[in-house]
Subunit: 335 residues, 2 copies
């Protein structure tokens, strides 16, 4: 992958310290998740296990767990709430993969590929309903509001993204609104929950903002990797976004910087979805030429620095260090 080599490679952050801090909690979250998907209906169990057990990093539930530690919380509410966050995320993944007609995720065949679109849609609905049951079980209206608002914004973001499909003239502002909504808002909610259950109102705002910034960074890198990743390492098909006509920052920057002929290339391949064999390679060449992957990674790094600033109000602690690691990770993962 020449593109992968072209990315300035920051030192990859490690999440080892984070996982050491939340190890026990994360085990309990996993056990709770598993107990909920082990219904009397085998298909739910199969699909949910397939996607949940397929080696995700549990970043979102980890954020709830570590945020609650950062805020000095010592109860048990973080467990079902972290599970709720993961269920909302997993439901979104299942529906996304149907919408995107994805065939591979994290190196494995997607659920829609194995079990069919129907089952993926319905089990996604089931997981979302389980998330709400966890929230209702928690019993706090504040928590319910945070997560139901997040679910509403996520679904709006997904629709907005669908509407930008095939439009390389989409503005950067519009793109940032899409990724803030579809991705960053759940990171933000996951972080905010830790403060809310610890009754730390002031911390809640800082942590929410932290979550937004790392969520944006996370998605920016995701979108860069779709053109530049080492497929074997990433476990996702390079060029998916291109084939789907999805408009991401590397494309927008290349379109804006391109001459008439290049603009026509992007309109043909993404707007009209008339793609030929070498077009992905040509797209990668244009991105390299205009350094749009580099610019995307640089923007992710800026968001991560903003995220780190949100933690300056907290005194130094292992939990704070672990959250700074997450911020670094979000701008450096997987390549």
């Amino acid at each position: 992958m020449t593109q992968a080599a072209a990315i300035k490679k920051p030192q990859t952050a490690t999440l080892d310290a984070l996982y050491a801090l939340i190890q026990e909690d994360l085990k309990r979250v996993d056990a709770l998740i598993l107990s909920r998907v082990k219904t009397e209906i085998p298909l739910i169990h199969q699909i949910a296990s397939h996607i949940i057990a397929s080696g995700g990093k549990r970043i979102r539930p980890a954020l709830t767990l570590i945020s609650s530690q950062l805020c000095g919380y010592h109860g048990q509410r973080q467990i079902p709430l972290a599970a709720a966050v993961e269920f909302i995320h997993t439901a979104t993944l299942l529906h996304d993969d149907v919408v995107d007609e994805s065939k591979v995720r994290r190196g494995l065949a997607t659920a829609n590929e194995i079990f069919g679109n129907k089952a993926s849609i319905l089990v996604g609905d089931f997981l979302l309903s389980q998330a709400f049951q966890f929230m209702v079980g928690d019993g706090s209206l504040k928590v319910l509001k945070i997560l139901s608002d997040a679910a509403a914004v996520i679904s709006k973001g997904e629709v907005m993204q669908l509407m930008t499909e095939g439009q390389p003239e989409t503005t950067i502002e519009n793109y940032l609104q899409v990724i803030s909504s579809k991705t960053a808002v759940l990171f933000a909610a996951a972080c905010e929950l830790g403060a809310v259950i610890a009754d730390q109102e002031n911390a809640a705002n800082n942590l929410r903002e932290f979550g937004i910034y790392i969520g944006i960074a996370f998605q920016l890198i995701d979108d860069a990797l779709d053109y530049a990743a080492d497929q074997a390492k990433l476990g996702k098909t390079v060029g998916d976004d291109f084939r789907e006509g999805k408009i991401t920052l590397p494309v927008i920057l290349a379109y804006n910087a391109g001459d008439q002929q290049e603009k026509a290339f992007w309109q043909r391949t993404l707007g009209e979805r008339m793609q030929e064999a070498d077009d992905l390679e040509e797209a990668q060449f244009l991105m390299q030429h205009h350094d749009t992957i580099g610019q995307t990674v640089a923007m992710a790094e800026r968001y991560c620095r903003k995220a780190a600033q949100c933690l300056s109000a907290f005194s130094s602690s292992p939990a704070r260090d672990a959250m700074l690691d997450i911020a670094d990770f979000c701008a450096s993962r997987a390549y």
Copy 2:
């Protein structure tokens, strides 16, 4: 339609008295729904308006409105809760139509047919999230529990139904569990809400049971109509269930009553989905021969009588009469 003529036609119940009682409330529910789908995202507005405005009878929100009247409630909480019920229903319809690959609903092209599967899945998710926002806005954990439990059971029911697809040997018990879950539970929740906001604990159980029974009756008739309806009047394609291999009571009864040759017919057409031009007509003939549409309608009528008994604890009132009309309607509509 010879089949349609073959059904014993009960006197069609009218819902005029019901609508007269809830007219003002229903207008406010519609206005609230409309205000929520008029987002800054045109696609959400288009799809939601398409499905919500396409002439449904608003039976489910009507149940919440009339139940709250029956229980002597005089506040305003029934409005957003009825809207939440309708949103849950509408979200389910959108996802159902994608899952079933339906082309026509209520005489109009389905949203997935016009706007595509992607948009239908995502807008369905949006509507579900709006339902939860209404529930959170209401602020009662009891209400939240009723509706989030309902959403969970509905999604389980949908998955269970998917698992019976193509299996005419499905038991009647299994079928009843599917339709109780996917359909009747929302009817039950809609009714129960009216009692809960009126703080009538005892009434809640009766109304919940009433809802379950009329919901089962409603779905039984729906499943009968799919083989026996006057397509122009029903506004739905006759034979959809057959083409999809969906297993409903008219099929189960015909399969159970059939000889080896007939069983082989059902296995070929629904199990293996190897269907030829005249097969739907043959299926209708076998149902007529074994009177399975008649038996299905008769079962619906029995459930409606059970429903009516649930209202015997309430003293006579226009609201109670209107609910009895709904029960009649559920066993007699549309043909």
